[in-house]
Chain length 216, copies 2
DNA sequence: TTGTTCATCAGGGATGACCCCGGTTCCGTG
DNA sequence: CACGGAACCGGGGTCATCCCTGATGAACAA
């Protein structure tokens, strides 16, 4: 049984090209519909329920990511393969974060595209090699982007950091006290120091601050 | 010029096998050192400065992720390829989050392993096909894991949801009140209803609950 | 020895969070 | 019409949070 593909791209000529290539090359894939805008795409996908959507990233009205957002909540079983001229990290990350299962550039050959569509339909993730690295960079704890040292964080004493960690997780003073075997008053002292040093005013801002710095 | 590989695995027999295979098959890769524990690995990698580290995920003293953490801050130019018997999503995500640039299982053939090492050394990300999906699932805004409808969420009235959204962002009651043009007392009423309906006890748990359901 | 930092703890007070009680209006349904 | 749900508001209470002042001992450096 062939993979049923829906094509989304704002250039009709490009759609025609892909359709011709995919239909003639092989019977593994079958183009069952296409759309040239976000609105058409959402309606068409909802109607045809394809196995795989070949999705252009750059389109008016929000681009491919917008299509993904509207469809995924409604029809989560549809998988998306992004197909774009762009090889920018930002584009890749955005569309993957929105839920695409792969990303290939339009420089791909027809044979490779067929292979990519089939693999995505089988649940694999497909990337042009260099692009997968972008996702990993964004996913990993960035070494360069989020440096370990921090002017304000360095001011904190070890014990203050202990308290901060628990505080950021939502522990009450009482709980922090029994966890660290100290009195509630001591916890208050540490919290006060932390708040003063970080220039923050309450535990909720602190919680955000700490999670941003990956202290939790 | 060949790719200089460092081998980390707590089983000496396995290391010997990989070393023999890699050294005899091709001259594209060259094993320049190996280690059987986290400590040895960190020291050996710092000393040899290999191009690629082949890293076992499951080891005493913290496993591969621990090696990653200790090395990446010191020698960021070393790339890591995880090599594991496990194909569990949790293992894959942990080691990728720690900074590995690829993950292959030990069922891989020698030829494929060589190819994977070379690709990783060139900056590509390499995955056994099915495993890449785990990373994407963890990275994307999960659709299946966090379904849209929720028995408790459905109980909330629209106004309660308004209050919840602001509350989850750390707003004080006073701020919520002026934001929604209602009195602090009304905010209290709504918060009480939300806490009762969600079976939670304070605003911090509520904040977590809301972010899990992407209400923020 | 003296000074500094850290960690520990206390009293007291102001404000906020949360609960329980009460009330009103509006609106839709049986 | 009567009833219930929603949104709205109050009084009064308990407890947590946060700030202030002030104190002790230990560790460490000048």
């Amino acid at each position: 049984m062939s993979v049923r593909v829906f094509l989304v791209d704002d250039h009709a000529l490009f759609r025609a090209g892909v359709r011709a290539e995919l239909d003639t090359i092989t019977d593994e894939v079958e183009v069952i519909g296409e759309a040239g805008s976000v609105g058409e795409a959402v309606a068409g996908i909802a109607h045809h329920k394809p196995d795989v959507v070949l999705l252009d990233v750059h389109m008016p009205d929000g681009g491919g990511a917008e299509v993904l957002r509207q469809i995924r909540t409604k029809i989560p079983e549809v998988t998306f393969l992004a197909l774009s001229v762009s090889d920018a990290a930002e584009d890749v990350i955005n569309v993957i974060r929105a839920g695409a299962r792969g990303y290939v550039t339009k420089t791909i050959s027809s044979q490779e595209l067929v292979r990519a569509v089939v693999r995505v339909s089988e649940g694999d993730a497909v990337f042009s090699p260099r692009l997968a690295g972008f996702v990993l960079d964004a996913f990993a704890d960035r070494p360069g982007a989020a440096p370990i040292s921090d002017p304000e964080l360095d001011l904190l004493t070890p014990r203050e950091r202990d308290v901060l960690r628990l505080l950021a997780r939502g522990y009450a003073y009482k709980e922090i006290a029994s966890e660290l075997f100290i009195s509630v008053k001591t916890v208050e002292t540490h919290v006060s120091s932390v708040l003063r040093k970080t220039q923050l005013s309450n535990r909720y801002e602190l919680s955000r601050w700490a999670t941003d710095r990956r202290l939790v």
